[in-house]
Symmetry: C2
Subunit: 334 residues, 2 copies
């Protein structure tokens, strides 16, 4: 039975996080024992200690997959989000922002402790971001909270690797993959972070081997970590054999996609000044998936990804307040 | 008895507010019945309704006097803040940011309802900001919460007119003025907003007549509102007779100060693009007061104000994440 035409372009399951962004110098990153450019999970106590030590911040809704959806929605895609906030002020902020971005969001807030997830992000003078995530309520997304109808009704189910760490959402995502596949939908997955891959490499390789992933997003460090090789091209080739569509971002060296064995490549979009790299990968995925949902060719999809990534790294924070649709239209029609 | 050398340059009493900033078009401002460029007070219910209607936001600590202190502290001044937050997540954000800015803050969080104050700020394409303030806990700053030692130990007590609306902080500010005067300190006051002046003109004129105010900050609309005249120069002259130091900001037309009857004037600092005018007056006051505390001449104080105002309107939000001290040094030594 062919799948019915879906009402959603992309439904994502991801961490429901509020980012707290502050500037820091390299000395602070070292003192606090962070690995620059990566994401680490921290407990409540560490979050309090680090927050007390870091500078004045600004707060914005974040979460990798949620950032991607915010970009997708700005580009005109019909989106839904599944993720767990707590019943607190930061949970209200997250829920407001996702709904204000015209994204369907039906997961009910979780009462009591722990609080809504926070990501303490330090941005160094080189514009690199180092993330410290207190998962809080986000790690308690139960499989029973999945909106199965929404997943069944989406052309693409998008999952973030970050959420593979906690057990409950991992189980929920496995169930969601089943729902998507049963309904003839595609599954997109982002590898998120090299350290996350270190913890879950076998799971991720198994998902690929099972044919569970139709579209895979990674950056250079992640694809190399996944295949445990120093040879980037070999890692790409090996991975591409397991997924119909592989997208690899390479920062200032652009991005490549291998779709059904055919390789396409774009350079990065020129930028005057990189301010904060937070959300670069998330917004690249947004642009690429928006292109796919508009049935564009692979080069156009990659270019849309590069445009959105460039926009997001030109300012602080991983949510855009500019008109991405106009940016893309200007560039593609230029 | 001469006053002892104070340990603080400026101690301020102000609203302890977290700003929620979103872009909006002029149609939205009109639909919601707002007066563009002004501040209105809203209740909990209106705040919820407006928040639900407005776009995705970003959150930053705000509050007029607190913004001024954040700028002052960045410029090297020793500062203290007195203001009321609730015992909630946004209260933690405010308290963290003020302390992370190296500002002494001893007011204890208030348990229970109402929540920490929020200001819903809509920024229109012309970069103008329209503010909707839910005062929450901030309006319950009791006179008993004043840190009298801190006030007595500050060269300048700085008060924001916005806080004159609620009764408890108004009483607290009156008491604080008494403490400052008893200790031979100066009192600085910002008129804040033309509508605030409409509600409290008699009080403000009485404070001036009593000689309670040593340094008065206003913009054009405010000084005109205060003196209820259309003649700007007449309003300035009348007001200047009542205060030893009057500072009037005129947006792109620069600023003037009349100190002990002597008038000084500076143009505005050149800027490529105004992004968000939120905090322009707050940061002008920061630069001017920093100059005063460094015993600079009036033109230098005004120039420092103009530099800080230019910086803050070049990006979203009323707290700066750049090195104001370096900006000022570069400009004054150029």
């Amino acid at each position: 039975m062919p799948a019915a035409v879906p009402n959603f372009d992309v439904v994502a399951i991801g961490n429901a996080i509020v980012d707290v962004i502050a500037r820091a110098d390299d000395g602070f990153i070292a003192e606090q024992g962070m690995s620059k450019g990566s994401m680490r999970l921290i407990d409540d106590e560490t979050a309090d200690r680090l927050y007390a030590a870091m500078g004045a911040g600004l707060e914005m809704s974040g979460g990798s997959a949620a950032n991607t959806l915010a970009g997708l929605a700005q580009l005109g895609a019909r989106c839904g989000f599944i993720g767990q906030v707590a019943d607190d002020q930061l949970g209200e902020v997250f829920a407001h922002d996702i709904r204000a971005s015209h994204i369907a969001f039906t997961t009910e807030a979780r009462p009591g402790e722990p609080a809504t997830a926070r990501c303490l992000i330090l941005v160094t003078p080189d514009a690199q971001r180092t993330m410290n995530t207190f998962l809080g309520a986000s790690q308690f997304l139960p499989a029973t909270a999945l909106d199965a109808d929404m997943i069944a009704d989406a052309a693409i189910l998008y999952l973030e690797g970050y959420l593979w760490d906690p057990a409950e959402p991992r189980a929920a995502m496995r169930r969601a993959i089943g729902i998507a596949k049963d309904n003839g939908r595609k599954v997109a997955f982002t590898l998120s972070d090299a350290f996350v891959i270190d913890r879950h490499r076998d799971d991720f390789l198994a998902l690929i081997a099972e044919g569970a992933i139709d579209i895979l997003f990674a950056n250079e460090a992640e694809i190399i970590s996944l295949q445990q090789t120093d040879d980037f091209e070999a890692a790409v080739a090996t991975t591409a054999r397991g997924v119909p569509c592989l997208v690899v971002t390479r920062s200032e060296r652009g991005a490549i996609a291998i779709v059904d064995g055919k390789r396409s490549e774009v350079p990065s979009e020129p930028i005057d000044q990189v301010v904060d790299t937070t959300g670069a990968g998330d917004l690249f995925a947004a642009g690429f998936l928006a292109g796919l949902s508009q049935q564009r060719d692979t080069i156009s999809c990659l270019t849309m990804g590069a445009i959105c990534a460039r926009e997001i790294i030109s300012h602080v924070g991983a949510r855009s307040q500019v008109d991405l649709k106009a940016l893309v239209a200007d560039r593609l029609n230029a």
